[in-house]
């Protein structure tokens, strides 16, 4: 295995007195796809939000693509530009059209010429099969279309790593598939992905490794087949029996 692109060592985090992350260790190498699952409140979202420092960890080290994340990190924006993120609530900018949503950051953060940014955006929108909606506003699209736009927006920054924070949890059942399809395509393209999700079908199809978290700890970490075939801890077994 090559040098990991994300290195998480002994990370601890507290919200007030409540410890959300306890001694998390995780290495992710390039092109690896990792699915994180677990009951709500187990710290999955917090963990991946720490990776692009939307949350700050209080103890331990997180190294993303050679840059350590800490209070002294000067170029946190550069790190974030290399780590795309897709949220549960889409978080598209409602005052901008889909195309502008996609070109905003490339133009102003990466200083890309407008024309180039638009071409790139259209290419990414085509990838998620939503190019015909480019000039609409987020409020005019369905949830599935919005989430696919959000994926395209993140991809427009040409990130090395993509984080997904329960991307299908806020969607109607019939729209989940179109979003998952887009994610599967992305995975096949060789993107490094960390996905927090309860879609076990997706995990089986795409993931190299599955991590099960509970109460702020990584309870189990195994290769996908192994994880589903014979989970080791009782907690994992219980969880899987409930969710499958």
């Amino acid at each position: 295995m090559s040098e990991p692109i994300i290195k998480i060592e002994n990370v601890n985090k507290w919200f007030g007195d409540f410890q959300v992350l306890k001694d998390i260790n995780l290495d992710v190498s390039a092109k690896q796809k990792i699915v994180v699952c677990g009951p709500s409140g187990s710290g999955k979202s917090t963990l991946i939000r720490c990776i692009n420092r939307l949350e700050e960890h209080q103890k331990g080290t997180i190294i993303v693509d050679g840059t350590e994340l800490s209070e002294n990190t000067k170029n946190i924006e550069q790190v974030r530009a290399e780590v795309g993120m897709v949220f549960q609530q889409f978080n598209l900018f409602p005052h901008l059209s889909i195309l502008d949503n996609c070109t905003l950051a490339p133009i102003w953060v990466k200083k890309m010429p407008k024309k180039e940014a638009q071409e790139l955006a259209m290419k990414q929108l085509e990838q998620v099969q939503i190019a015909d909606q480019a000039n609409k506003f987020p409020g005019q699209l369905s949830g599935g279309q919005q989430q696919r736009s959000a994926i395209a927006r993140a991809l427009c920054m040409q990130p090395k790593i993509m984080l997904f924070d329960e991307p299908t949890s806020a969607l109607d059942p019939e729209m989940i598939k179109e979003v998952l399809d887009a994610m599967v395509n992305l995975a096949k393209g060789g993107m490094t992905m960390i996905v927090v999700t309860h879609e076990m079908g997706f995990a089986k199809e795409v993931a190299d490794e599955v991590i099960f978290m509970d109460e702020g700890m990584i309870v189990e970490k195994a290769e996908t087949k192994e994880f589903f075939a014979n989970p080791k801890s009782d907690r994992t077994k219980l969880f899987l029996s409930q969710i499958l």
């Binding site: 692009n52 924006e77 609530q89 409020g139």
Partner: protein
């Protein structure tokens, strides 16, 4: 209640009841109208109390006949739903209609039929109505204050220029559109200031110097409001952001500023600016009273703007911040492109509210000796030649202020509709 039901219409006699009800209702209105407009009491043959209450009783019975659950006639249903839902509302409706009819003839005759507008002196006002001659004679003073009569063109020209420059932004070429905000926030106020300074103040280019003490009337209202509006908005924006800053120093300075200015009355601030402030300045340093007043009002209203804008910032979901950050935007890019455009849209009604209050607060500058529209009225009504016409003057000022404020709120509705976004 059941005993009244025989008076209720049913499907068969619905139209009979409707016409009868309308007829009774019309008679009651007609009776009051004749009484009020022609001063003839048609029902004087009836005993006293009955004569007074007859229209009310007739109207009440009429409305009671009209009232049905659902008739299918659109206008009738609207009436029933809004002003005729039950007996109590029917009586209120009637009383309000009667009051309006009663009040119309005297106010109309005072304002129009018995009013005078000809002549140039107080003696021309012979009627019992309003003396609009007063407003006519003083009109120029109300508009331009003590500004010399033959120089009024300079004020007009300055305003036309400033308004034209304001519209200039709409005609910018597309590739210059991105500088629009810059133009309105920085360049436009400076140009407007220079135009007003050089044209209205004069003193160079062969124009006679007119000191600001002579400025006044509606034009001064406009000048003060205009500059306070365009300066207090950016100030409020900076303070709102400062109050939410993660740097404690900036946050506490902003909170301190806002709470200080919100805690003192405007009138005190104005006194301070004109009386106390010059004492702290070096002797050879001079700052015009008008400028000091504008700065004082701007600082004062900026605090209010800040809190309104903060409300908008507060209303945005955290996801918007997260999304902007995750795309690698720093603090300023995030706020300029993502947060502020959305937040400012949300606060249009609140900002409009603050601005309207500001415009209506400008008469307070009278306490430091600057006479804008309301101030000029106060001066004019004490003129020995024109004593006793305060009413006409204040009605005139009220109408003008109402027009200005209504125009502003209409404009804010337009902005709201224009920038409406679905979430």
């Amino acid at each position: 209640m059941n005993s009244l039901n025989f008076l209720k219409s049913n499907k068969q006699n619905f139209y009979y009841f409707l016409y009868l009800g309308l007829f009774l209702f019309s008679i009651s209105i007609l009776d009051v109208a004749i009484n009020s407009f022609l001063k003839i009491n048609v029902t004087s043959f009836l005993p006293g109390i009955l004569s007074i209450f007859l229209p009310l009783i007739l109207g009440f019975v009429g409305l009671n006949f009209i009232r049905t659950e659902y008739s299918g006639i659109k206008s009738l249903d609207i009436v029933n739903k809004n002003i005729n839902t039950n007996n109590f509302n029917a009586i209120l409706t009637l009383l309000i209609i009667f009051a309006i009819i009663k009040a119309t003839p005297p106010s109309l005759s005072w304002m129009i039929f018995d009013a005078n507008i000809s002549g140039d002196t107080k003696e021309a006002c012979t009627g019992t109505g309003a003396c609009w001659t007063y407003v006519k004679v003083w009109f120029r003073r109300f508009m331009y204050g003590m500004y010399p009569n033959d120089l009024h063109w300079r004020i007009n020209l300055a305003f036309i220029l400033v308004i034209a420059l304001g519209f200039f932004g709409f005609f910018l070429r597309d590739n210059l559109k991105k500088y629009l905000a810059l133009y309105y926030v920085i360049i436009y106020p400076i140009i407007a200031f220079l135009v007003i300074y050089y044209l209205i103040s004069g003193g160079s280019f062969g124009l006679v110097w007119v000191e600001t003490g002579a400025w006044g009337g509606l034009s001064l209202t406009f000048i003060v409001s205009f500059f306070c509006l365009i300066f207090c908005f950016p100030l409020g924006m900076v303070l709102a952001l400062g109050r939410r800053s993660s740097l404690p120093m900036i946050r506490y300075i902003s909170i301190g500023y806002i709470e200080f200015w919100r805690g003192v009355p405007l009138i005190t601030v104005l006194f301070m600016s004109s009386v106390m402030f010059p004492m702290f300045l070096p002797e050879d340093f001079f700052m015009d009273k008008l400028v000091r007043v504008i700065i004082a009002i701007t600082l004062f209203e900026g605090a209010y703007c800040a809190e309104v804008i903060r409300g908008g910032l507060q209303a945005l979901p955290r996801g918007q911040y997260d999304a902007a950050k995750s795309l690698g935007m720093g603090y300023w890019k995030m706020h300029i492109f993502v947060i502020l455009p959305q937040a400012l849209k949300l606060v249009i009604p609140g900002i409009c509210n603050t601005f309207l209050a500001l415009v209506k607060d400008t008469p307070l500058i009278f306490v430091v000796g600057l006479a804008e529209l309301a101030g000029m009225l106060a001066l004019a009504k004490t003129n020995p030649k024109w004593l006793g016409f305060a009413m006409e003057g204040y009605i005139f000022a009220a109408i003008i202020f109402w027009i200005i404020c209504y125009a502003m709120s209409k404009y804010s509705y337009n902005l709201e509709a224009k920038y409406k976004t679905e979430r």
